[in-house]
């Protein structure tokens, strides 16, 4: 049994495609088995809603009169990159505000843009013969911009380490506030609903794959930074996946405020919660088997985030079912777990994408090129101590 994306798209256009969310597909596979699911289901929708620091937006303001070659740019007091063409910029999610720091950073500017709010733009320049203005100050909103698109170098982490803290002081991290003496464990995943955990061999997700990015149309444009997919096979035959990532793009003007959220991680900085939905075509039984893997068979490692080393030692391997249960035991100590990504929102996204496909409003794209396999990550060698 195998189906092509074109065949599935024809069914979508005729309103005859059978679409399940990944969680629904997991449940159905338990009841009816993989072959029956592969036959019945055409598309599985996967989704995630989590903090993705490597996110930001490309903006083009249009030219002022007289024109300026912007070299120092702030948006609501948050610095944006001034090293592109005259009125192009990139604002990154983790850029702290000059006044409010992490309480209002780049992510908050992007959130306010999508919400249609007015943003104060200040720009300076040394002035050139062709761009004579040296300073401008004005208000802009999303609809005023020529282009405004999210361009996120690293999103949709396939798998991410869970965090705890063995030291005797509280640690404020991008994995939230970690209480002393392993007082809590935090984790960030949509688990069995998560796009890259459902297509671990990158059989359908590729360059050009159309996705839902923050509620609007988006695309996978490249492998994400620090992508790695050297999965390990465990003794029980399950796979422990690594951390493949995706670089994605999408028009800010089509996004919905409900599917992105600026965040402040105390003592760490600002970040952007990004919502991503991905359609996964059920191309054959093997792929259906990947789609049907449940939280009980998806794993991550718990690391001690008080250890400031590149290569931390894993304290324990746990399944996402164990993490979701709320309690995990390490060395005889029962520790509370808490999620950092929103499964509630991820489910809304998976449902919305499902409805769009059922309604014929979203058809799938063939990847124009395969994503590369990465089996190792390079570190950075620094000079001295």
């Amino acid at each position: 049994m195998s189906k092509t994306i074109q065949e599935i798209n024809e069914k979508i256009k005729k309103g005859k495609a059978v679409v399940f969310t990944a969680e629904e597909a997991v449940a159905m596979a338990k009841e009816q088995g993989i072959p029956a699911c592969a036959k019945k289901i055409d598309v599985v929708t996967a989704a995630t809603f989590g903090a993705m620091c490597s996110s930001g937006a490309m903006l083009n303001f249009g030219h002022s009169d007289p024109p300026i070659r912007m070299s120092e740019i702030t948006l609501n007091g948050v610095q944006a990159y001034g090293g592109l063409a005259a009125v192009d910029t990139y604002i990154g999610a983790t850029q702290p505000g000059e006044e409010k720091g992490a309480e209002y950073g780049g992510a908050h500017v992007i959130e306010d843009l999508v919400a249609g709010k007015e943003i104060e733009l200040c720009a300076r320049s040394g002035g050139t013969d062709c761009y004579t203005a040296k300073e401008i100050r004005t208000k802009i909103k999303l609809s005023d911009l020529n282009q405004a698109y999210m361009f996120n170098p690293r999103n949709a982490y396939q798998n991410y380490s869970a965090a705890t803290n063995t030291s005797n002081t509280t640690k404020k991290t991008y994995m939230g506030t970690l209480l002393p003496n392993m007082g809590n464990i935090t984790y960030s995943t949509a688990g069995e609903l998560s796009p890259l955990l459902k297509d671990p061999k990158l059989r359908t997700i590729g360059i050009g794959t159309k996705i839902l990015l923050c509620g609007g149309e988006g695309f996978v444009v490249f492998e994400g930074t620090q992508a790695i997919n050297n999965a390990a096979e465990l003794e029980n035959g399950d796979m422990h996946y690594a951390g493949y990532t995706l670089c994605v793009i999408g028009d800010l003007k089509g996004m919905k405020s409900a599917y992105l959220k600026a965040a402040t991680f105390e003592g760490y900085g600002s970040s952007l919660y990004v919502g991503i939905g991905m359609p996964l075509p059920v191309i054959d039984e093997d792929f259906m088997a990947d789609l049907a893997v449940s939280n009980a068979h998806l794993y991550t490692n718990i690391f001690d985030y008080s250890e400031s080393k590149r290569q931390r030692k894993a304290l324990k391997r746990v399944s996402y079912a164990e993490l979701r249960s709320g309690l995990v035991e390490i060395n005889g100590k029962t520790i509370r777990t808490a999620p950092l990504s929103s499964l509630y929102k991820a489910r809304l996204i998976a449902d919305e994408l499902k409805e769009k496909i059922l309604g014929g409003a979203f058809v799938m794209t063939e990847a124009v090129s395969k994503l590369p396999v990465r089996d190792s990550l390079k570190g950075l060698v620094t000079e001295g101590k």
Binding site: G176, N184, K261, L340, S342, K345
Partner: protein
């Protein structure tokens, strides 16, 4: 008689902070648990109490405090959550020591149980969306 619990914020004028007042609540058959206190002689003092007793006795106790010149505020919500800002991520549940903030394990929505809240305020800073306001902010 059924016992109820009430969380109250008390503001002591500077001239009252050196007198024993809260201790007199026991005379109204009330037990109290001091959740937070900022008191130093000669300055306005603040105490947050959880009172337990019958409704009638709680009323008598609070009347007594007001007669002593204490400003009393009763809190029906110990933290204020901005529903529209909350994204149900669960970060606050990781620092909540009493289990007042928990995730519903079916819907994965955040749930808040006021009775369990100790007013520690850890959730306020742990919330990435800044969707929680401590009720400290409303009095102090």
């Amino acid at each position: 008689m059924e016992e109820t619990h009430e969380k109250v914020g008390l503001e002591f004028p500077p001239e009252k902070t050196d007198k024993p007042i809260v201790t007199n609540l026991v005379k109204f058959n009330l037990t109290f648990n001091i959740l937070k206190a900022y008191v130093s002689p000669g300055k306005t003092g603040y105490i947050i109490l959880e009172l337990a007793g019958t409704d009638a006795n709680i009323k008598k106790g609070l009347d007594y405090l007001e007669n002593e010149g204490i400003i009393v505020k009763i809190y029906t919500d110990s933290v204020i959550r901005y529903e529209e800002k909350c994204m149900h991520c669960g970060a606050c549940t990781s620092v909540c020591p009493s289990g007042a903030l928990t995730m519903n394990r079916d819907t994965w929505e955040l749930e808040f149980n006021m009775d369990k809240c100790l007013l520690c305020g850890h959730c306020v800073r742990a919330c990435p969306a800044r969707a929680i306001k401590s009720f400290d902010d409303t009095i102090f």
